[in-house]
């Protein structure tokens, strides 16, 4: 197990190193000099040069890459060109919106998807199953930002139950949760549709296994066999998808954050890209990639602990 963990850890470190190089190169080819962006069109050339010097933009690229990488490793994500605040501080501020939003959406999607998937699998081939399948087809096809607009139209503009956008901060947790509700619903719907399908097909596969037949032969009712033996086994692929969805939601809320004017990580990246605040873009994208790779690593480890066969692939 230790050998497997070390091997995976090495490949994790290598992936992160390559990812950092890719991110740095992609961002560095961006046309537009951050210093000229900050000073505007009428800036004197020597002022721009002085600012470039101050920001370290005049150093050779490899030197800037190494100092960025070294900084990341020691927890220093650099300083925003535009706001002159540490990137770590900005990320910490924004994550108080993005993380709760992602968890809220994930919670909602699980609450909708698991019962729907179990219901459909238990009534496979009947009208209830067809209804769930039809609903998931719609849920997958709907663009979530359009769904968000419809939610705003109905619940904010017509019924006036929620505000149409903005975030009041966590001073009043109830208000904060309320302002995250419509965005979370908009994010949760397509995720729930995918999750419900995975839950359904996974449970259907498990229900045709021999051990379920054995359980039924022992005298358990269909319902008992499903709840006691089927569900637990069927949850493994569902958990994998949940892990993937979590890392997706953390970064994938970019457009939903735009719709609702939420000050989250996605909006931070979007604004930084348009303002050519390169160091913020680099560091935040790197953090997101790190999150995905780390979640994948932990999932692999959990599987390897549970199932020894996975420790020796091929």
């Amino acid at each position: 197990m230790l050998g497997y963990a070390l091997k995976r850890l090495t490949s994790l470190a290598l992936s992160l190193l390559v990812a950092s190089l890719v991110i740095f190169l992609v961002v560095e080819v961006a046309p537009g000099d951050p210093a000229s962006y900050m000073l505007g069109l009428n800036a004197q050339p020597d002022t721009v040069a002085a600012l470039r010097n101050e920001l370290g933009l005049d150093l050779p690229k490899w030197q800037r890459y190494l100092s960025w990488l070294g900084g990341m490793l020691s927890g220093d994500f650099g300083t925003s060109y535009t706001y002159r605040t540490p990137v770590a501080q900005m990320v910490a501020d924004r994550i108080t919106v993005s993380l709760p939003l992602a968890l809220y959406a994930l919670g909602l999607s699980t609450l909708i998807a698991l019962p729907a998937g179990i219901y459909a699998a238990a009534r496979r081939g009947k009208a209830g199953d067809a209804a769930v399948i039809g609903a998931t087809q719609l849920g997958i096809a709907i663009p979530n930002f359009w769904f968000a607009m419809l939610l705003v139209l109905l619940f904010a503009l017509k019924l006036r139950w929620f505000s149409a956008g903005g975030f009041p901060g966590w001073e009043s947790p109830l208000m904060a949760l309320k302002s995250l509700t419509l965005p979370a619903v908009a994010l949760a719907l397509p995720q729930a549709a995918i999750l419900a399908r995975v839950m359904r097909s996974s449970l259907i596969d498990i229900l045709s296994e021999d051990f379920i037949r054995t359980a039924r032969a022992k005298g358990l009712s269909r319902r008992q066999a499903l709840w006691r033996h089927g569900l637990r086994n069927a949850l493994i692929p569902v958990l994998t998808i949940l892990g993937l969805q979590f890392s997706f939601l953390l970064a994938g809320a970019i457009i939903i954050e735009q719709v609702f004017f939420l000050p989250g990580l996605g909006r931070l990246i979007f604004q930084s890209i348009t303002q050519r605040d390169l160091i913020v873009v680099e560091s935040v994208v790197m953090l997101l990639v790190f999150a995905v790779i780390a979640v994948n690593f932990l999932t692999d480890m959990a599987y390897a602990l549970a199932d020894p066969r996975l420790r020796h692939p091929r």
Partner: protein, 271 residues
């Protein structure tokens, strides 16, 4: 034929036809601004109503279909064109350096938040349809590479491949002449699904202003323009959204239906 496959094919055909028709004819002019008749609800003259500049929404949707379908189709083509050869090559030398390289690169691309990178690419190289294609296409490459490799590996163990090897054919000839034809069904089905994902991605990019630029109409930007009008004239926001929803739904139903129809093993169960 299953009704869902029929519905999917019908929806796909309708939108493809509308997109093609828009090259030669639309009910109104999508560049003509007519403020006097702005934000009109659907009527006999304007079947789907007009937008905030008085343009005919049906004409906008038809021309927008062109943009969406073209961007998504070329992006899938890009993904397939590069991904399939890479997958075939990786499978032909399983465990070799090329296989390792392709698979590790795949893993790496999957780790990147696709939407963020798509936005990054379009923002860096400038917004526009071409860069949207690039941004969406890049993430299609690993999808097709992985799918092709996995399926090709199972064929390499089959006897008819062994026979081809005995006959003296090289790995690349076997890949093209014997393995690729067997993967056609699989690739068509996956292509349909990636096509629908591409349409969603294109809509998202043009919604944030990074897709096709004015005056080329696109569904995503129609939605962005409609956002401030949504309480005055809901139909301006509902029409383009429905167009996206129905196209994506049609392609997904088509993809699912084709998979069931082309793969006999799936027919009796697991619908």
């Amino acid at each position: 034929m299953r009704p869902s496959l029929l519905l999917g094919a019908a929806l796909t055909l309708i939108f493809t036809f509308a997109a093609l028709l828009s090259f030669v004819w639309t009910p109104g002019d999508v560049t003509a601004v007519d403020i006097a008749s702005r934000l009109q609800p659907p009527s006999a003259v304007h079947w789907l109503g007009t937008d905030q500049l008085g343009r005919d929404l049906l004409s906008m949707v038809m021309t927008g279909a062109r943009t969406s379908l073209a961007v998504a189709l070329v992006a899938v083509g890009l993904g397939m064109g590069l991904g399939v050869p890479l997958g075939l090559a990786a499978a032909a030398r399983q465990g070799g350096w090329l296989d390792e390289l392709v698979m590790r690169t795949n893993d790496l691309i999957f780790a990147f938040p696709s939407l963020v990178i798509a936005i990054l690419i379009t923002a860096i190289f400038g917004p526009g349809a071409l860069n949207a294609i690039l941004a969406i296409g890049i993430f299609n490459i690993p999808v097709f590479a992985r799918l092709t490799r996995g399926a090709a590996l199972s064929y390499w163990r089959r006897e008819f491949i062994l026979a081809a090897r005995v006959a003296g054919k090289g790995a690349s000839r076997i890949s093209v002449e014997h393995i690729l034809p067997n993967l056609a069904n699989l690739l068509i089905v996956q292509g349909t699904i990636q096509f629908s994902l591409g349409i969603l991605a294109e809509a998202g990019l043009s919604y944030v202003g990074l897709g096709a630029q004015p005056p080329v109409p696109s569904w995503g930007r129609m939605l962005a323009d409609a956002q401030t009008m949504v309480s005055l004239a809901p139909h301006v926001a509902i029409v383009p959204g429905l167009a996206i929803l129905l196209t994506v739904l049609g392609l997904n139903l088509l993809g699912d239906g084709l998979r069931d129809a082309l793969d006999p093993r799936l027919r009796p169960s697991r619908a």
